[in-house]
Symmetry: C2
């Protein structure tokens, strides 16, 4: 078990993986907002790019004042400085993964980083 760690994520409003999985290159959270709910604040980041993937349901984000409709299967990248807030739709919960990584930190990937 030294080279990997596995957990099963329960159905909770927010689950943060960094400490549970000993992550060193990302923080990842699994989030569910019930219908009509929102993250209760607008935020941006100092260094971190965020990638959001919509896993279930529908909603929208407001990013620097622009409304982006969201549904399961959508993925988006948000620059660190952008002011963002996430909302479930009026009728449906939204479940999404949020991945924080340091902007410009990736060097090689896939074929240039893999050893097959």
């Amino acid at each position: 078990m030294n080279n990997y760690k596995k957990i099963s994520v329960a159905e909770e409003a927010r689950v943060e993986l960094h400490d549970q999985l000993n992550l060193t290159g990302a923080e990842i959270s699994i989030n569910t907002l019930p219908a009509c709910a929102s993250v209760p604040f607008v935020h941006s980041h100092k260094q971190n790019e965020e990638i959001y993937g919509i896993l279930e349901g529908e909603g929208y984000a407001v990013i620097d004042g622009e409304k982006a409709l969201l549904k399961a299967g959508d993925w988006l990248r948000i620059s660190p400085s952008a002011k963002r807030q996430f909302f479930a739709s009026d009728k449906t919960a939204i479940k999404y993964v949020c991945i924080q990584v340091k902007e410009n930190s990736l060097e090689g990937y896939t074929m240039t980083d893999a050893v097959v």
Copy 2:
């Protein structure tokens, strides 16, 4: 649209997000293996930590010779040097997200990187 980019991911065997979303801190792929299928090779990484999240279905991974059963809701971190291969179960497809990030690249996160 300068500060964010959004795409809708189709149902394909593998979708890679880095180039589509202009990611700079991660490569993210969404992968589906049909029942009885596997990734056709074992691989490890030079620099990158990988985080896998099982989105749908069941299967298993073999990591440094150890078999880890996987089902929807499971998340795992794999160290760069670990030799890994992913398999769907005999009866069910498995859909998973794979996140590549440079090991030890994350500095602050959440409360220490956010501006509210």
